[in-house]
Amino acid sequence: MEPILTVRSMDKSFGATVALRQVDLDVWPGEIRGLIGENGSGKSTLTSIIAGIQKADAGEIRFHGQPWHPASMIDALNHGIGMIVQETGTIPGITVAENLFLGESDRFRSSLGLVSRRAMEREARKALDVIHADHIRPGTPAAMLDLQERKLVEVAKVMVKKPEILVVDETTTALSQKGRELLYQLMESLKKEGKAVIFISHDLDEIKQVCDTLTVLRDGRIITHFSRENYDDDAIKTSMIGREMQGDYYRADSEPSWQEQVLLKADRLTGSGLHDVSLEVRAGEILGIGGLSECGMHTLGKALFGSAMLTGGTVETGGKAYSDPGHATALGVGYVSKERDTESLCQQASIRDNIAIGGLKHIQMKKLILKKRETAYVQKQVDALSIKCRHMEQPVSAMSGGNKQKVVFGKWLGAGSRVLILDCPTRGVDIGVKQSMYQLITKMKNEGRAVLIISEEMAELIGMCDRLLVMKDGAVQKEFLRGQMREAEIIRYMI
């Protein structure tokens, strides 16, 4: 048997950063190949080159034995390799049908040379039916779909071309259980047809469940391969981070604990999809919020920081109510957004600026911000969180996801926030950094801060929280205490 795809000696760098070096890879018919590695290890770069989004600097790709030089993503897709990208791959301002046939409107030209929308929507219907997404209408603007529906549109867009190789890059984080099942089914059927899937995920459990073989990348190199028979968590993690993991992954203790003092109190929050949500977080407590991605928990996070449009309810910390982020910040509440790149960081700004902005009050001496004090302040956070950088003037845009998240943590920890609202704090963060984040969150608990974790990862919630609130349709369904959390039961309240 011949591999469908072979990659030989591929190199790629972005400026001074080497993303891939001398990568070799074979993809065989009928296999689901997992790619795993820390952020910046080169997974996305490798697959995006295969899928025609970027060009390699050196090396060779052969597809079915022929040299493979796709001109673009659409070109690659038309010739048999399709990719579902990590970020949102739909364009909000155009319809579902137009998204499905992006760059291919020529196909629907009528005799007059004009693009026929009707023909396009008819085709789109068919494409959506292929993946059983019956509820999505081709004429709807993509902006009106939710995250999951949009992902499904992307899936349809790729699947309608019947690709020989399907690349799935971190797609499942945006999907609910039902959406995931659908995707897995599609992957299985491709496998049965003798086609191949390249699957990228941070979720080790998921990747183990889905993939037949696993390829580990680190620092732009292929480190090793695992086949299903010899999957071993520790071995995989060790090869990913290049050293053995020290200490606990999640919290070590298994009993719930907190102090008396209530640090965050929300009373009957209503509006923007929330219905009568009340909660309390005490000092030294880690409160988890779980649910499906559209259950309202992300809105709740914003609402607790005073930045959601509410029609009713109050939020207070230390007995003082607040309703805007400025006030919240002043009262010692910090918020880490799920949308890290756009909402928690200013991309063009330096590490220094991003960390210092939260703590200007602390840096000021007689109202003045002196560079020396600022440097010391930032340096303290950089050291405490071991943020990897050449110098603090580096813009954060060039950093990896995990490092970026550390900068965000640094901003709030430096500011001395007593209450931290963390929305998907480990989203897109690799295992090594994840572990240090969990250790950090545990440390915050021990320091007597109130931590609220909103997460779509069940394992993380179970592993970290003292108490877990499960949400559905904008309301709290059920409360679990540490030690009583059972995944199956939790999921029952979610759906």
């Binding site: 920081f305 930045s307 805007d324 982020p325 400025g326 006030h327 919240a328 910040t329 002043a330 918020y335 957004s337 756009t342 909402e343 928690s344 960081l345 200013c346 991309q347 063009q348 700004a349 330096s350 600026d353 210092a356 902005i357 939260g358 200007l360 009050k361 000021q364 109202k367 003045l368 911000i369 002196l370 340096q379 950089v382 950088c389 050449r390 110098h391 603090m392 003037e393 813009p395 901003k411």
Partner: protein, 319 residues
Amino acid sequence: MGKQTWKERIPAFASVLGLLVLIAAYYIVGAVRDANVAYGLKAIVNQSVVVALVATGAVFIYTLGSFDISLGAATGVSALLGAMAYNATGSLVIMFLVCVGVAVVLGFINSSLASVFNLPIFVTTVAMMSVLSAFMLILIGWNGAGDTVKVKARDVRPLDNIPFKVFILVSYIALCWFIFTLLPTGREAKFIGGSPVCARLSGINEKKLGIIASLISAVGIGLGAFLTIIYAPTLTKDTASSIGMDVIIAIVFGGMPVSGGPRSRILSAVVGAFSMGFMTQIMSMLNLGSGYGQMIKAAIFLLVVFIALGSQRGKLLTR
């Protein structure tokens, strides 16, 4: 931890280098064309000081990522009212206060309108510009002395000297630099310009900053208006009308991104204003005629921006 290499710092100084090149060119052209170079330096200070003042203040507005096109008209209205106040009272102090006061009131109206009603500042200022230009015409009508509003030249002449102007400019720049660098205001403004959402979620009050920026910029406008009267005490409906565009050009020339954000710098304004001053002198020494002169000016402008942009070019087209 490492330090920034000098290479990484170059883009920040490209505009200063540009100014140095222009200065060199000025001396060379001056020598070839047998010009009075020393007098020219004085002229450049005189001609650039108002733009430098207004532009320095405007850096705050630009840093926020917004854009004010009514700066010129605001300067004009402030100057007209200042001059009328002087004619009514005979007091330079009152003229000064009216200039700054009117500018501050206008800035406050502009920014609070924008913040109360969530308007995009640019469009608000487009409307403001046409209202203010119309208002200037009305003021001249009220003044009832032909097509101008005049202050007696000899009354203001004692102040029309370079040391006084440089003193005002340097003090204002120092004030702005102080606010921009040593107070949280500047940091917060840069953050808003870089990412408004992140700024809001970091607890920064965008509306408050918008008003503060407008007020700081208004002080620059008021000072600019005051110096305009001092320099040329006969005001017309067109007084200061070119300042709005000059300020944009100066700020860009000075190496600041028009979209504001973290790479904003206070000194951009003054560097840009003086670059323009030198360029104007060079053009006038070359005596090229209006059309060709303007074409070359445009070409140099684009060239300088192109160079200052350095290597910050991505795969996507800039927006």
